[in-house]
Amino acid sequence: MIQPKWILLAEDNPIDAELALRALNASGAGVKVVLANDGSEALDCLNRCGTDETCGGGHPTMVLLDLKMPKVDGLEVLRQIKGDPRLRQIPVVMFTSSREEADLARCYDLGANAYVVKPVAFAEYRAVLQEVRTFWMGINELPAEDRFKRQSMPPQLVPAA
């Protein structure tokens, strides 16, 4: 059974959400993106996967997770995904404005699969999101559970300043 591929985007800022959707669909890839407006919505969505049609059926192919969100922030969502045996294999890409090394380190510690700083220039922004989409959506097999554990520091997708 082939599950349809979709992306869960957790983003509280509607402009950022619009820009992200625009970037992900820029080249007409037509990938399904489900938007969660904050951390708790994102968690609700993940917990209802497979039962709720709005969630596209099955687990998302990738989670794009903003760090700074009201109610439940990105770090907490990450911790719950990676702490839940049913969800932990979902690749989580942190998509944030923060260049703080502390945030980066914390996210990798909690099992984030990538950490992407939102570029200011929209061209770069678009390019980065398309690279991320292409990379994670292109992988047919999800990374083995032990893989991201060993791979403590995957390449950081940060454009040069």
Binding site: N13, I15, D16, L19, R22, L67, K68, T96, S97, S98, R99, E100, E101, K118, P119, V120, A121, F122, A123, Y125, A161
Partner: protein, 769 residues
């Protein structure tokens, strides 16, 4: 001339009395006479007017001559009694003489009367004289006997001509120990020592007494128990009136004590002589009129006059300086007149003169010899020149020291006796402790202690410790006169005299209350400081956290709208480009560029902020390797450039490798940027070492800068060039300064407009970051 005699007549015929008187006056006798013719009258006359001569008739009518004779013989037997009668028979005559009459004269032979009377009177007188002599002798003998018997201190005994004891008085018994019966009849050599007996001393004594009448000697005698004593013995030869030797009287006196005293005296005299001769002081004997009588060797030495030069001369001429002579003579004169000598018995100090005229200070003491008349004096003189000099030096030194001590105001300096009583007190002590010298001298020094210290016996313990260790140093609270307290630094030192005996303690105290308070404050400050450091650290941590939050906020919240601006400009450009004029498109591009630049500024500011907060690692780094890495990182900027690199010998330094790499990248990047117009560009990297720190420089031949802005270069966002000429945001040098500061080093720059620039930084060799 004979005195007038008194004659008593026993006669009944007054005419006969006249006749007899006449006859006696003819013979030249001076007399007064009375006549009685009764027994009663006779008796009363004998009693009231004792006569020198009684002339009596034989037969009276109511009295008779024989009765009168009997009465006279009874009452006054020494008075001559002569019968003057008319007739006297043979028997009567015999009876007359038998009755004791002196003579008888017949009235018819009155011419015989006067001679008879004269003879009778002479005989009576002779008898009276003899009788007196006998009486005197008797009395004398009695006295002598009593004397001899009573004398105990003298042994008095008699010897017969051969030397045997015939009498022995109590004194002899007391002195010799023998009783009279034990020695009577024994030879007196019993009292001599065997040595003297062998030498024949007993016989010699007797022979000398015989030949000279008297012999006196002193010698040892022996008592009964064999004890010997010194005796003065006088042996007198006794002869009868005919000159025949009757024996000897021996008087012996114990003079042991006297002999002993005399011998002691002799010995003492000899000693005195030696003392006189060997004394170091001049000893003079001076007569009452001031003449030198004795002059000992020390006097010779001190004054330079020989004894024979000095004796007999007036003392004042010899030794008293002329200037003092008058005063001296006045003193002597005063003494002679009043008996009060200003010098007598009191040693004084005066100036005396030597034979060579030099003068010196001397102790001078005159003592009157009490036993001699006219009085003599002994004068004792000691040359005290050296002592005076020593005294003067000592006094001067003591005076200086005293002045010093007294003037010291900052230190209480005082002396204590061995028990701790104050004996001296300086101005500093008065100032610090508040007591005046009058108030405190004699008081115990525990007065300066607080009651609780006294209760703990601290004053005694301090002295005890000082005594054991020679000194004692301490600090503690002391009490002033007014009861206020001060913190004293105290040093107690024991003081000993030259014989090592403890004289007391010297005490030096200083009021160090201010220092104590300062120490107290420092201690308090230190305590507070720790507290404040903790507080400040907490504040700083809080501030850092705020800064973190701020940075986070900046990086997150500030960049989000910026990104949105950039994004929508981009979208606008893409979707509306063909509908817009060239001018509008240019405006959109400017918005896009500005948003991008603002993004860079924010990123740089965040990086700069992170640099200050990032924890530093310390390790030894090769600066050469750092330069190589930096050049590698900048290789793209070197492409198509003509650059003369000159890299000198670079040191190994202590520091954070990433930060120092950042420094080097920034410096080289700057050098490359500002030499862009140079062909060839010249970039030199070198280092010097001054022992304390390594100084690294990067020099270029670029556009340089105006030296008056040299220090502005290192400020955040400070730029000396227009952005159009040289890209960059003006934070590189600020980062360099921040990193080097965190390494404990310095940064500075030299340069000139169009003259190139040199940037320096130093790194300490021992950095304790």
């Amino acid at each position: 001339m004979r005195k007038e005699i008194r004659i008593l007549y026993v006669e009944d015929v007054p005419a006969d009395v006249v006749i007899v008187n006449h006859e006696l006056r003819k013979a030249g006798l001076a007399f007064r006479s009375r006549r009685v013719d009764t027994k009663d009258a006779f008796l009363s006359e004998l009693r009231d007017n004792p006569p020198d001569l009684i002339l009596s008739d034989h037969g009276l009518p109511c009295f008779d001559g024989f009765t009168a004779l009997a009465i006279a013989r009874d009452k006054c037997p020494e008075v001559p009694f002569i019968f003057v009668t008319s007739s006297l028979g043979e028997e009567t005559t015999i009876a007359t003489f038998e009755g004791g009459a002196t003579d008888y004269v017949l009235k018819k032979d009155l011419a015989k009367l006067a001679p008879a009377v004269v003879r009778a009177l002479r005989e009576a007188e002779e008898r009276a004289t003899l009788k007196q002599k006998e009486q005197a002798l008797r009395e004398s003998e009695e006295r002598f006997r009593m004397l001899v018997e009573g004398v105990k201190d003298y042994a008095i005994f008699m010897l017969d001509p051969r030397g045997r004891v015939t009498s022995w008085n109590p004194g002899a018994q007391w002195l010799h120990g023998h009783r009279a019966e034990e020695v009577r009849g024994r030879h007196y050599s019993l009292f001599y020592t065997p040595t003297d007996i062998e030498a024949g001393r007993p016989e010699i004594g007797l022979k000398r007494a015989v030949s000279e009448g008297r012999f006196e000697e002193e010698g040892l005698r022996v008592g009964k128990g064999g004890n010997e004593f010194w005796a003065n013995v006088i042996i007198t030869c006794l002869r009868d009136p005919g000159g025949k030797l009757r024996g000897f009287a021996v008087v012996t006196r114990d003079i042991t004590d006297r002999v002993r005293a005399r011998r002691a005296l002799e010995k003492s005299e000899a000693l005195k002589g030696i003392i006189l001769e060997t004394a170091l002081d001049a000893i003079l004997s001076v007569s009452h009129d001031g003449l030198v009588q004795e002059w000992n060797p020390a006097a010779e030495r001190i004054f330079g006059y020989r004894r024979d030069e000095a004796v007999g001369r007036p003392m004042d001429e010899l030794i008293v300086p002329p200037s003092l002579r008058e005063a001296y003579q006045d003193g002597v004169a005063n003494y002679l007149m009043t008996g009060v000598g200003s010098l007598l018995g009191r040693p004084i100090e005066l100036t005396l003169r030597r034979a060579d005229g030099s003068e010196f200070r001397a102790d001078f003491a005159v003592t009157r010899i009490p036993t001699e008349e006219p009085p003599r004096c002994t004068v004792l003189i000691r040359d005290i020149t050296e002592r005076k000099q020593a005294e003067a030096a000592l006094r001067e030194s003591e005076e200086r020291f005293r002045l010093l001590i007294e003037c010291v105001k900052d230190y209480a300096i005082y002396m204590l006796d061995p028990e701790g009583h104050v004996t001296s007190w300086n101005a500093g002590a008065e100032r610090i402790e508040g007591f005046s010298a009058d108030e405190i001298i004699g008081e115990h020094y525990s007065r300066f202690f607080a009651p609780e210290d006294v209760a703990q016996h601290k004053p005694e313990l301090e002295l005890k410790t000082a005594l054991e260790q020679g000194r004692f140093e301490t600090e503690g609270w002391r009490v002033r006169k007014d009861g206020s307290r001060f913190w004293a630094s105290v040093l107690i030192t024991t003081v000993h005299d030259e014989t090592g005996r403890l004289c007391g303690f010297s005490k030096v105290a200083r009021d160090v209350t201010e220092r104590k308070q300062a120490e107290e404050e420092i201690r308090l400050l230190n305590t507070n400081l720790e507290q404040r450091v903790r507080e400040r650290t907490a504040e700083l941590e809080a501030a850092n956290q705020e800064l973190d939050a701020f940075s986070y906020s900046v990086s997150h919240d500030l960049r989000a709208p910026l990104r949105h601006i950039a994004a929508y400009v981009d979208i606008l450009q893409a979707e509306t480009a063909k509908d817009l004029s060239e001018g509008s498109r240019q405006y959109l591009q400017t918005i896009a560029d500005s948003a991008l630049h603002l993004g860079h500024l924010i990123d740089a500011l965040l990086a700069f902020s992170r640099m200050g907060r990032t924890e530093m690692r310390q390790q030894t780094i090769s600066l050469s390797a750092v330069v190589d890495e930096a050049r590698r990182e900048l290789r793209r900027e070197v492409e198509n450039r003509n650059i003369n690199w000159k890299i000198g010998r670079l040191p190994r330094v202590q520091g954070d490798p990433l930060m120092l790499r950042q420094v080097m990248v920034n410096l080289l990047s700057n050098a490359l940027k500002y030499t862009r117009a140079r062909d060839p560009a010249a970039i030199e990297i070198g280092a010097t070492d001054d022992g304390q720190e390594s100084i690294v420089f990067v020099r270029d031949n670029g556009v340089g800068f105006d030296p008056k802005y040299a220090d502005k270069l290192f400020g955040v966002f400070q730029r000396l060039h227009r952005p159009n000429d040289f890209e960059g945001i003006g934070i590189g040098l600020a980062n360099i300064r921040r990193i080097i500061s965190r390494h404990g080093g310095r940064t500075w720059a030299e340069g000139a407009v169009d003259g190139g620039a040199t940037f320096f930084f130093s790194l300490p060799k021992q950095f304790k970051g």
